[in-house]
């Protein structure tokens, strides 16, 4: 017997193919009144206090809306065809939403019991925290305390601040739904935990190690803050629209191929930094695969350098870089070479508050830039923290334009 794939029942056809059942199909058999809640997806862009452009914010589905209308919709499914569940607008700091319990009082007694336990524990931690804070105040005023003990007290206070609130469902919901207040330690901790453990950092490091950035450029890299890079989107397919549409900036995944015309201008760099005190970082962008014909090998080219970038939790995001120490030269992979790897790196400077004086490298010094020597000379250690990003590019006809406009100017203009 043949079953034709009907266009209107495409979703049902997909369910016929081997895969897990959809929740819509299964809920028809059950007497439960509430539809299952959609899984909370990560909203990596919208957790910081500062406002960010709306085109970079992801959709984050909220808790299930009024159950009645969904039930009515599902009972009418058979007559009207598939009814797609409607989504409430995504939660952002401009459109915040109140936290509410996921299930009613008495619906699940173990949940109520768990809540009581968590609240009691939170209260006890807060009382302990108050004691430690008063102790710290006394210790700071008293001269006979040694600084190591005071540092330990501060660590203990930080841990207690996190422990007192990290189990509360309202706090965890807010952190997951873009309403985190980065002034508070617990939210900074939760956001950092999410960045480290739910795949964003893993993806970046996977690309860095797979592309051999680590042994080729530097021996060790351990990023300590989340760096997100946005470049303009690629040109549209139709040549008519090519010069008639404004290119929007879009989020770039680390390690992907970009077009040279996307990287013509410097990127927009968004950061989520987890330390409240401002520290100085050196930003640089290098190309690792420039051919070195005399030695039949590859060398690095320095595209961009900016020392003394001050970053903290409350610093502006995206990083405001109007004029930089070393001018931004767009990536220009040579024709006939394999793909080029471009690395954008934020390295913490040796002293967090001391500004460094670095001479501006000339155009000849950009070619054959040795990062290891540079780092040793100025005491930069990427193993101590910082941020990183990388992407790849291949020669395109537009690279010739870069050579004409930008690089020839470098040669002729001097």
């Amino acid at each position: 017997m043949f079953s034709l794939r009907r266009a209107t029942r495409a979703y049902a056809g997909l369910a016929r193919a081997r895969g897990n059942a959809t929740l819509q199909n299964s809920s028809q058999n059950v007497e439960i009144t509430t539809p299952p809640p959609p899984p909370a997806s990560t909203s990596a862009k919208s957790e910081s206090v500062q406002t960010e452009p709306s085109d970079t914010a992801k959709q984050s589905p909220a808790n299930p809306s009024s159950t009645k209308e969904n039930v009515e919709e599902s009972t009418n499914t058979k007559k009207r065809g598939r009814v797609w569940p409607t989504k409430r607008p995504s939660i952002t700091l401009d459109r915040p939403r109140q936290y509410s319990r996921p299930i009613g009082v008495g619906a699940l007694p173990v949940y109520d019991e768990a809540l009581t336990y968590i609240k009691r524990d939170s209260k006890l931690r807060k009382e302990e925290l108050e004691e430690y804070k008063s102790l710290l105040q006394r210790a700071e005023s008293a001269p006979d305390w040694n600084p190591a003990d005071i540092e330990r007290l501060r660590d203990k206070i930080r841990i207690l601040e996190i422990q007192s609130e990290v189990n509360l469902p309202s706090v965890r919901w807010k952190a997951r739904n873009g309403l985190a207040d980065l002034n508070q330690t617990v939210y900074r901790h939760l956001i950092e935990q999410r960045w480290r453990e739910e795949g964003a950092l893993d993806l970046l490091m996977e690309r860095i190690y797979q592309m051999n950035v680590v042994p080729d450029m530097l021996p060790e890299m351990h990023p300590s803050f989340d760096l997100r890079v946005n470049f303009p989107e690629p040109p549209p397919q139709s040549t008519v629209l090519r010069n008639r549409t404004k290119r929007k900036y879009q989020k770039i995944e680390p390690g992907v191929f970009l077009l040279p015309e996307q990287t013509r201008k410097p990127p927009m760099m968004y950061t989520t930094v987890f330390h409240t005190e401002p520290r100085l970082y050196t930003m640089l962008m290098v190309d690792l695969d420039v051919p070195d014909l005399e030695n039949q090998t590859y060398q690095t080219y320095l595209h961009w350098l900016q020392p003394n970038v001050s970053l903290s939790t409350f610093s502006q995001s995206p990083i405001p870089l109007t004029t930089t120490h070393t001018k931004y030269i767009p990536p220009h992979p040579q024709k006939g070479t394999h793909y080029h790897r471009y690395v954008l790196l934020f390295v913490p400077q040796a002293h967090a508050t001391e500004r460094m004086q670095i001479p501006v490298p000339t155009d000849e010094e950009r070619l054959g830039f040795n990062y290891r020597e540079f780092a040793e000379q100025y005491g930069l250690d990427a193993g101590r923290g910082g941020g990183a990003f990388m992407w790849r590019e291949v020669w395109d006809e537009t690279v010739s334009k870069i050579y004409q406009d930008v690089l020839n100017k470098l040669i002729c203009g001097l």
Binding site: M1, F2, S3, R16, R18, N20, A21, T22, L23, N25, S26, S27, N29, V30, I32, T34, P36, P37, P39, A40, N63, P102, I103, L108, V110, Y111, E113, A114, L115, Y117, I118, D121, N167, P169, R172, W173, F257, P333, K335, G336, T337, H338, Y339, V394, W395, D396
Partner: protein, 188 residues
């Protein structure tokens, strides 16, 4: 080499090679007179439609309903888990603190003993062989019968009793011994 990358970017791979149509055959039983033919047909053309649970339950058609029943709310599940782990952590910390205090008390007591009497300290620190028999016990042991001696030796402090039967799949063929009488053994 750059040209291969450029060409890769431009090509679009087809969804299905050969564009052969996929037939969804139902489990139609075409019963002819010859059962062998039916069997061959059933083996050669099995059903394409999969909507039954797999034998070991790796695929279930109503997995959504089951998940919903088990975990009605992800947030509630997480809260309950965190509360339980928190409770376990507190219990573990209390147990560890108690054990630490007991150990500390024992340590202090032994230190005091060392100051007061090194000889007694040595005695207290000697390891003890639970199988060893003291002279008084050896006297008792000599007066016992053979079966009683065996019973005496089978109970060692800190070790499982020798009469312990390992668990078997089936009960003993002899059945349960209702008339069991424990052999007399003196307490050491």
């Amino acid at each position: 080499m750059a040209s291969t990358f450029l060409s890769l970017r431009k090509t679009r791979l087809p969804f299905r090679v050969g564009q052969t149509p996929v037939r969804h055959a139902g489990g139609q039983e075409i019963n002819t007179s010859d059962p062998r033919k039916d069997l061959i047909r059933r083996v050669l053309y099995p059903t394409n439609i999969r909507n039954r649970a797999s034998p070991t339950g790796t695929w279930l058609p109503d997995v959504g309903r089951r998940l919903q029943r088990a975990i009605p709310s992800v947030q509630a599940h997480e809260t309950i888990e965190r509360a339980w782990f928190l409770h376990q952590r507190h219990a573990r910390r209390r147990r560890q603190a108690e054990a630490e205090k007991k150990f500390q008390c024992m340590w202090n007591a032994m230190e005091k003993l060392r100051e007061l009497s090194p000889r007694l300290y040595e005695e207290a620190n000697k390891g003890e062989d639970p199988r060893a028999r003291s002279p008084a016990e050896t006297e008792i042991w000599k007066s016992l019968k053979k079966s009683e001696r065996r019973a005496f030796d089978s109970r060692i402090r800190g070790l499982f009793p020798r009469e312990l039967r390992p668990p078997t799949d089936t009960p003993p063929t002899g059945g349960w011994n209702y008339d069991y009488q424990p052999t007399l053994r003196s307490s050491s």
